[in-house]
């Protein structure tokens, strides 16, 4: 039976969390209204420029010119909704974001020429999924296998060695590996290209195109996997070892069950929830790509787009990516909570 009341409360809390987080993002991404001021002065500048180049306009008397200029500027600012104070607009932005009406980008365009934020994001999303979601799946699997292997002989050579590797690589971010690997494997060894998505010019044959993309994807994929699997293996190992210390495992061992059976029935099952949570959240975050790694590899995914959007103060794109990630995140968390409340008797009883 589902603990409906508990889940309803959690849903409400998660909803409030998304609203507040989105609002904070709206305010910061718009620099507390500063970007609107920049936009307004940009409009003023453009209109003044275009009018002063108009010969018919310069023949008009001074006061008429002045009036006409002001009129056009106010109209343009009104048309963009910039005449309202930021505090009001911030709530309009918030509601738009929460209802996923992502609107138009201020500066950037999609390759197809669209200004819709949704189009721009959707155009990049496949690139990010192809690289980072694949990499996340790969490193999660490798990590789980190695992590379980480490628990075979805790404190043994392999365990200690992998733990040390995990601890050291764990503090080094993937983009750092990216730079070093580029230097070694792309520059000195020349096994891989120096970044990018396809060769220039891109091959026209679809099969060759796919192969070319794979060739460009290889090094980022390897980098991301190598950078992240050791630490993940260490986390898996610790979760499993923690379960090994539980009383019910000791009892199972005392009953004389085979090691294999103890592992399968009494250790792995209760270890699954935290491992699944970790993998699920990593998968959600993988959709956001990796801002810096994508910049380093020149990979046209969501992270690269985010960086581009920030550096051209294109707030709608930043807000769009954030709100989508936030939704995905809380929905995942919520689904997991439902799952666990069904699967884990302890949670069911406690509530």
């Amino acid at each position: 039976m589902l603990p409906v009341k508990y889940l309803a409360k959690r849903a409400l809390i998660l909803g409030v969390t998304v609203v507040i987080a989105t609002y904070l993002t709206v305010v910061i991404a718009n620099a507390g209204g500063l970007i609107d001021q920049i936009l307004s002065s940009q409009i003023r500048f453009e209109i003044t420029q275009s009018l002063s180049r108009d010969p018919a306009f310069s023949r008009l008397p001074e006061d008429v010119r002045e009036k006409m200029l002001e009129e056009r500027i106010t109209n343009a600012i009104k048309a963009k909704g910039l005449d309202q104070p930021f505090i009001i607009r911030s709530f309009i932005y918030l509601i738009d974001a929460l209802t996923l009406r992502l609107g138009k980008a201020l500066v950037l365009k999609s390759n197809a020429g669209s200004r819709e934020v949704a189009d721009i994001i959707l155009e990049r999303l496949p690139n990010t999924i192809a690289l980072f979601t694949t990499a996340t799946i790969i490193y999660s699997i490798i990590g789980i296998i190695i992590g379980l292997y480490m628990t075979r002989k805790p404190g043994g050579f392999f365990d200690r060695f992998m733990a040390m590797v995990a601890v050291i690589t764990g503090v080094i971010p993937p983009w750092f590996f990216a730079i070093i690997f580029l230097l070694i494997f792309a520059f000195y060894v020349r096994l891989f290209p120096l970044g990018g998505f396809v060769s220039v010019p891109a091959p026209s044959d679809p099969l060759l195109f796919a192969l070319d993309v794979l060739y460009h994807m290889a090094l980022p994929l390897i980098t991301w996997t190598i950078a992240l699997f050791p630490y993940w293996a260490y986390v898996v190992r610790n979760i499993v070892i923690q379960t090994y210390g539980e009383d019910f495992v000791t009892i199972a061992k005392a009953k004389g069950l085979s090691d294999d059976k103890v592992l399968r029935r009494y250790v792995l099952r209760p270890s699954m929830p935290p491992i699944i949570t970790n993998v699920a959240l990593s998968l959600v975050f993988s959709l956001q790509g990796a801002l810096i790694t994508e910049v380093v590899f020149n990979w046209p995914g969501i992270g690269y787009l985010l960086n581009l959007a920030i550096l051209s103060t294109d707030a709608p794109i930043v807000i769009g990516i954030t709100v989508i990630t936030a939704y995905l995140l809380v929905i995942t968390v919520f689904i997991l909570e439902i799952l666990y409340s069904i699967l884990d008797p302890r949670i069911r009883v406690a509530r």
Partner: protein
Amino acid sequence: MSTAPTGLKNIFREVLQTKSGKIAIIILSVILAMSLTVWITGSEEVVKNWNEPEYWIDNPRLAAPEWFSWVTGSNAPRTIILKPEDFRKTYSEDPLTGQATIQLRTRFYYDYNDVPSEVILKLNVNATTRSLITLSWTKPDGSKLEVYRKDVGRGAYLIFLYTDTDTVSSIKSYLSGINASPDIAVQTVLFSSEASLKSGNPKILRSSDVNPPRPYEVIVSISSRKEGLSASAQLDLLGKVHGIAGTDNKRRDIFIGILWGAPVALAFGLTAALIISFVQTILGALAAFYGYRIDEVIERFTDVYLVLPFLSLLITIQFIYKTTIWTILITVIALSIFGTITKSTRSMVLQVKEEPYIEAAISYGASKARILFLYILPRVLPYTFANVTVLVPSYIFLEASLSLLGVGDPVLPTWGKLIEEAFIGGATFYGYWWWILIPSSLIILVSMAFALLWYSFDKILNPRLREE
């Protein structure tokens, strides 16, 4: 089953007894000593001039570290600077015409297997009329050529001999005079014997190639009206290796950047990690200890903070306001008041709070503040310190990643900035390994030290995870 030791002192002692803890402490002490020395004895002048191209003009561009030439045995050229006082000055006057000539003459032994990366003549001329400058270049084999001839006004001149148009045309006419191919580069002509130039297979001429060894000789002569004529010259033969860590594309000594980056990196990482860990710990403890409203509020804020896109917001703020590293620090702290440490501390305090000794404290009337700060917090502090050790490298890398995206501190040379400039300058594309690997290895070294420290903490605090 062994349990975790309690008491900060005991834990620190145990951490120091592990091998990884010892290695970590040694590395950190060296870096800390280095930072303090730089902080105390270093001159601010270097940092002020970090972005001034003129300050670094006497260094070669993109030179590898000096030790690299020992390792490879390539005997790559080092920088030779012939200062104004290394020039012998002779003055002659023609009483009939009123013309005077200053001759500046210097010599140097050159024994490297490669030509200098650049040869720069710095000239200061003071005269009432225009003066004629000539530069003659005599090689150890006795051959002599005129490298430069130009008529200039008063002022200071920087002549890059390899690329200067007058030099190139002088060299061309010299080459056609000796019937050699006119396409040989200036540097090759300057440092090869005339015979090898003629044969079409130029070979570098070292001072020791002739017996007895003879130097190169350079004569700069300046002729003008004798009234108020004075001149001085400096000749820079920039090498292909430089210092301990080489130079970047703006001729800056990377080692100086690394030295000055160390205190900044440590201060930034340590301050951020300490403040954030402690604030999060205290908030988590408050939430668990007081419960109800306070717990609810802190929990909600923590959830919000965990959903906030930390890096995007930080980059946005930094991009718009372009602040110094210390303002970045404040922003980072503000964006991390709540976080995962709040959550883990909260769950830990929830357990500790139920223990009998707390009950005892309540029963003898200890105040709430006393219980929280003196009885509960010390129990969770070791975990906070473990968190500090793992957070320091992540904040050092955060600074580096901001620099890499071009939104770091605009002035200070930080480790991240060095890596960013190397990356933008195409170090990975052209293989200037020292430019990127040396600052990187410093960051890795420091991170490794903190990671090892964290490993020892983890080992001691979670003994259950180590059991056979």
